[in-house]
């Protein structure tokens, strides 16, 4: 019985995250901090580990974190409950919005709104790419807080991947092939 309660609570807590976290997986972190403090399911240190693992394993980060917390709390069934909780609000909300958009596809207003959304969405994707780029290519820290150094090997690797996938016959390869190759290069050359 307690297990059922725990699973129900996990589902509801993550449904809350799914309903209120807007944006990428990083947007869920403040909610998870609160959840840890309120429920006592995990500490801030646990959360740091979970974020690190979620970032370095396959799968969207937000989903990984939900699965991890759920597993931590109640094993495999907990992982399932937390993940289903996270996705339930999305399914409901998106189905409603997609239905609405399908209905008003011909509307000039919807068309005009999307003419603004498309370039903005492209810009946000570019900005997200830049954020990852800064995190990878700029090494902070050292003696003074505001000194930066460029991580040249990582930058060279990114440039090589970019050139290969756009301008050589290798562009027919699946993107995961480039990711796997880059992972191997990183591990071998200790980037």
């Amino acid at each position: 019985m307690t297990l059922v309660w725990t699973l129900l609570r996990l589902f509801l807590e993550f449904a809350k995250v799914g309903l209120f976290a807007v944006g990428g997986g990083l947007a869920t972190i403040p909610f998870l901090q609160d959840m840890g403090a309120v429920t006592g399911w995990f500490t801030e240190t646990d959360l740091t580990t979970m974020i690190a693992v979620s970032e370095s394993t396959p799968g969207p980060m937000g989903v990984n974190m939900a699965t991890y917390v759920g597993f931590q709390v109640a094993g495999l069934s907990g992982a399932v409950a937390a993940t289903l909780g996270l996705i339930a609000p999305s399914i409901v909300v998106i189905v409603i919005i997609a239905g609405f958009l399908q209905k008003f596809r011909q509307s000039r207003t919807v068309d005009a709104v999307f003419s603004g959304l498309r370039p903005a969405s492209t810009a946000l994707i570019a900005a997200a790419g830049l954020a990852v780029a800064l995190a990878v290519f700029l090494l902070t820290g050292g003696v003074e807080e505001h000194t930066f150094a460029v991580h040249w090997p990582a930058l060279a690797l990114a440039a090589a991947v970019f050139v290969c996938m756009r301008y050589t016959p290798l562009k027919k390869l699946h993107p995961i092939a480039f990711i796997a190759a880059a992972a191997a290069v990183g591990a071998v050359f200790q980037l």
Partner: protein
């Protein structure tokens, strides 16, 4: 293959190939969903990301639901969403059970640096592909540049650190992706719907 199986399996593949935030999913979606399956076109992907960005839920899940729903209604939306989270369930459960120190191994960190470098290149390439269809005309390019500048500024300035007081908090809100999407939607509506519409009506 049964279309429902296909939706689930394709999105499970997208889930496996995504490292990091939902944006890292874009290159994989372009390959699997646009190029291989033809379930969507590039422009639609930007629409889904735009909507996924300013609606509840994380982008990766929202985008998966959107594509599935568009293709096969509610069952499609549910299956693609379950597909995209399925690999996480398997992989994270295995790691949490056996390898909780996984992220601390130096080899994992080095590999991750390599992965992230590749992800930057993949996203850059995807943006160039998307830009071809989404950045046509002066208004679109202007919106693109404004949103890019504000989003990068918001990322860099670390406004929520509290150093700038209420002004910083206001800017933080303004530069959040959801707010930028809403503002761009209003801009598009004004440019094309209101003023553009008037011009069309009165011009001739």
């Amino acid at each position: 293959m049964n279309i429902y199986c296909d939706l689930f399996l394709t999105f499970a593949k997208v889930g496996v190939c995504t490292f990091g935030g939902g944006y890292a999913m874009l290159p994989i979606l372009q390959r699997e969903v646009v190029e291989k399956k033809g379930w969507a076109i590039d422009e639609e992907l930007t629409d889904y990301f735009a909507v996924g960005q300013c609606t509840p839920g994380i982008i990766a899940v929202n985008t998966a639901t959107f594509i599935g729903y568009k293709h096969k209604g509610i069952p499609g939306g549910i299956l693609t969403t379950l597909g995209v989270v399925f690999p996480s369930l398997v992989i994270i459960t295995a790691i949490a059970a056996f390898l909780s120190r996984f992220a601390e191994y130096p080899v994992v960190q080095h590999a991750l640096t390599g992965i992230n470098a590749a992800v930057v290149a993949l996203i850059a390439s995807s943006v160039l592909k998307l830009g071809k269809s989404t950045l046509k005309g002066g208004a679109a390019v202007t919106i693109f540049l404004c949103v890019l500048a504000l989003a990068v500024f918001g990322n860099l300035a670390d406004l929520d650190a509290g150093a700038y007081g209420p002004l910083g908090q206001g800017l933080e809100l303004l530069t959040s992706p959801a707010a930028l999407i809403v503002l761009a939607g209003i801009a598009g509506w004004l440019i094309k719907g209101v003023f553009g519409g008037k011009k069309g009506g009165e011009g001739r």
